[in-house]
Assembly symmetry: C2
Homo-oligomer: 247 residues x 2
């Protein structure tokens, strides 16, 4: 019997045509599509673990998965084979062999998400799949102050998905910032972990701040309230990208 | 009876989901979608003229159309109304009132197309709709020499669509160049007019040059041959953008 190999892959995908990452009964997911391709190549069932469970319509530059096999396939052939079988909107980047203890989700030290707003009078046909179009002017410097005030360990209950049960809604944001590039505004948040909808709920509330509908003080009050009803709307999924997992 | 107004629009579209620009029986086209929206707003049939007939899957940043109406609708309301009715992948930019003699196609002094190649070992899920993925290394400086040798008035029969009848296949290229930005190569060609498939056939042949499969001299021979069979393959449509019409 061959030795066990724990293989990790970095995966990019355009989430537009998927019902999110995680296997579920009502539609095609990225997870099942990728897992199916891995199983066809290895010719045995695998347990595959993903670092982040992106929601429907959310994209990824740097999703990471791992699975165990005893097959001796070299990593270049594995990557090439997967890319020849996968649809155009899912790509496997680098493959690595890891310690047997490595787990894509539990070994992650941090995850970074980027959210893109297209802040222009008209949306563009070329960015509508990959950004949230906000037509009124946004003060990105003020939004930067808002998001930076979230850095640190705190209770993010105001930004969680309603009715989603968590033992604790405390999370730690390591890095955060808002940058404008022309008519695009990028919101970057790196955290040790995220609540479901957390980035999109933070972005929805930052937009209220950027519009001038709430002040920086009121933004702080919303965080302190620890109540989802106090915060702004959930930003739409197509602006969100899982950018990187650190181990 | 109100006076006749000749209105022009600049139009952007993602051509992925359309059977090209021009009305035809076998699928939805950009032209019929836009014309339908204009007619619903003006409440009368229009003759609409487009500057360039982009093929299936080709995109546009700066398509121009014109049509005549006697309705007094102001241009801002027209643009807003159209954008509220049109699908996300077609956007109307600026609207202008023109002389009655203006014709989007016949008044054009030049058209500029840009073709984008993604020159990297793996394609990206985010650029696959908007570029041609060429995995092997391309010499973009040599391709630039090739495309610049086409500047001027000449017979482009080597780059026309086969079996497409033309009175003359002479056209004039005013400006041309190839530029690399990271893993993307952009090929820009401005001409007073184009033969069908001309840009895509030039790009297909430039790629042979960039790969080293033909020399610059052989590239010149292909142009001189005035024979479609001498040139390279037709580059796929999704890398092509109609960028601008000059009047």
């Amino acid at each position: 019997m061959d030795r066990k190999r724990n293989i990790s892959l970095v995966v990019e995908y355009d989430g537009t045509n998927y019902h999110g990452w995680q296997c579920q009964p009502n539609g095609v997911t990225v997870e099942e599509t990728l897992k199916g391709a891995i199983e066809r190549i290895l010719d045995h069932p695998v347990k595959m673990y993903g670092a982040g469970r992106t929601d429907a319509g959310v994209h990824a530059f740097g999703q990471v998965v791992n699975f165990v096999t005893e097959k001796g396939i070299d990593l270049t052939s594995l990557t090439r084979g997967l890319n020849s079988m996968l649809p155009d909107d899912i790509r496997v980047g680098s493959a690595m062999e890891r310690d047997l203890s490595f787990h894509a989700r539990y070994s992650a030290r941090s995850k970074t998400y980027v959210y893109t707003i297209h802040n222009a009078p008209r949306h563009s046909p070329f960015s509508v799949r990959y950004s949230w179009h906000v037509p009124y002017g946004l003060d990105s410097a003020l939004m930067n102050k808002g998001v930076r005030s979230l850095i640190g360990k705190r209770d993010f209950a105001s930004f969680k998905k309603k009715k989603e049960p968590y033992r604790s809604s405390e999370r730690e944001i390591l890095m955060a910032g808002v940058k404008r590039r022309g008519s695009f505004i990028h919101i970057v948040i790196e955290a040790t972990g995220f609540l479901r909808y957390m980035v999109r709920n933070i972005v929805g509330t930052l937009v209220l701040l950027g519009e001038g509908r709430i002040t920086l003080e009121e933004f702080g009050d919303i965080v302190e309230a620890r109540d989802r009803d106090s915060a702004g709307p959930t930003a739409p999924p197509q602006g969100l990208f899982l950018r990187r997992i650190r181990y």
